[in-house]
Symmetry: C2
Subunit: 298 residues, 2 copies
């Protein structure tokens, strides 16, 4: 039997996900805080708009959420007009947002008392991955719930991994974010040295990228920084939200995340300078400001 | 006409390089500070042993060096019994060691006055790459000299790049070393978070390695750290020598290499603990010591 899917959160990620669900013939009912976004999406896609979150909850077998941050998920789940008021026993909730692993575990526990399965399922691959249905999805929570919703996740992503118990999807996503930003700090320092010594930077990137210094950030983002192209794959503002989650976890767990913390501080400076909307590879601009050099030759 | 090749420095890297040169039918004469290493290599390979560096210089069209550090190269070139006493006008010297870019430029300038071309040509790929002939070689110096020796370099490596003027090969190598160690710090912090949250670390590595968090260090070294396998691809002691060169360049050029400097400090601690002979991925052990956690589950 086809599951009736409810989808909450039609930001740039959510819209791409819904498009892929509909194109792969899943029946989708949506709700969004800003109703205009739902109306606009309905012009292009065969979807139903729910009059309220409660109504969406009552008519769905699986509810997917994709919102911004921990308090947003909490509000959608447990707010005065939240999902928990309408969800029936046996429903599965899949949270595609990136939020606190500890909060995810707590939400899962609360919902389990009503026999509602909760999966933390943060994604990576950005808005492009959401639009193309090529996201990586890292899932924590009960395995039987994962098995039930896997065909739905496969409509949105190409690399779907059940990581383990509740919260482990979020932790894996935070591990990914550490790698992304610290690898970009590595790229930034290498580019700065090369520029100061007047090396052909793109040639240097191509000379080393296949070896032990190689990374996705080096191959994809270093050439953009060299070109002075700062359009976001993922903005500094969103990256900072995720780093805040990483550093909260580090505090809870007593971990010295030295380089991650350093990147967070450098991004603070860029945000103050009004650069929060630039791509996260604009990290190099913080080191440019400290050194008086420009990686991009204007 | 086949160039007569002289080779100075039969450490683990040099021995692999000479083997590949001989197997590809280049005539090689060697000299080594410790004569036993040359005698031992002669048992396996068709090579000539020069009685002195001066004699090697006099009978070579191209001299390759592979020694440890800037003072070693200076000594081989300009010491009392060094190459400069025997090299003829028109000879090319290729320095495969990783040394200071500024010193490389100075050596090149001094030799150019005697019409001797000097190329800085540091390699990456480690002892395995040297043995297999799959090194990356990043070359700085006069282009016509590069063109002359390129067939010789191709016997030892698969990715040979002429980077630009004298010193630019060394700078590119130092950029590579920044990327290697800071990417490993990224891996170390990600693994630490995952372990503290009790995530299946290898599963997490495989879930994220194809995306924006991916790197050579993540795919190749994180699994070794998880297994508690610390055999060196490249030792901490050698890595520290290269980081010293990076940080000297940073000082000369006025650069704030924040994360690279951080890694250097963490390695200082591991060297003090007697771990300088471990692989550079043992960086994670410095964070283990700070957190009281072990990434490897014994």
């Amino acid at each position: 039997m086809t599951s009736r899917i409810g989808f909450v959160g039609l930001g740039i990620m959510g819209r791409g996900m819904v498009k892929n669900l509909v194109e792969k013939n899943h029946p989708v009912t949506v709700w969004n805080r800003t109703p205009e976004k739902a109306e606009s999406l309905k012009k292009d896609l065969n979807i139903t708009i729910a009059p309220s979150i409660k109504s969406l909850a009552e008519t769905s077998d699986v509810v997917l959420l994709c919102v911004s941050d921990t308090p947003d998920v909490e509000d959608v789940l447990f707010g005065e007009t939240g999902l928990a008021n309408g969800l029936r026993s046996g429903t599965t909730v899949v949270d595609l947002s990136t939020i606190s692993p500890a909060a995810s575990r707590a939400f899962g526990k609360t919902l389990a008392e009503k026999n509602i399965a909760f999966l933390d399922a943060p994604v990576s691959g950005g808005s492009e991955g959401a639009a193309k249905g090529t996201l990586s999805i890292m899932v924590g929570g009960p395995e039987e719930a994962f098995d039930r919703v896997k065909p739905i996740l496969e409509a949105m992503g190409t690399r779907i991994t059940h990581m383990g118990p509740s919260g482990s999807g979020q932790t894996t996503k935070l591990m990914n974010q550490i790698l992304v930003v610290v690898n970009m700090l590595a790229v930034s320092e290498a580019l700065l040295l090369g520029r100061a010594a007047d090396v052909d930077l793109l040639k240097a990137v191509r000379a080393v990228e296949a070896g032990a210094g190689g990374s996705w950030m080096l191959s994809q983002r270093a050439p953009q920084a060299i070109d002075g192209y700062w359009q976001p794959g993922f903005t500094i503002d969103l990256q900072q939200k995720d780093l805040r989650l990483v550093l909260e976890s580090a505090r809870e767990l007593g971990l010295p995340l030295l380089a991650t913390s350093l990147v967070h501080q450098l991004y603070n400076k860029l945000q103050k300078d009004g650069k929060g909307g630039l791509g996260n590879h604009a990290l190099v601009q913080a080191l440019e400001d400290l050194s008086g050099l420009k990686v991009h030759k204007a």
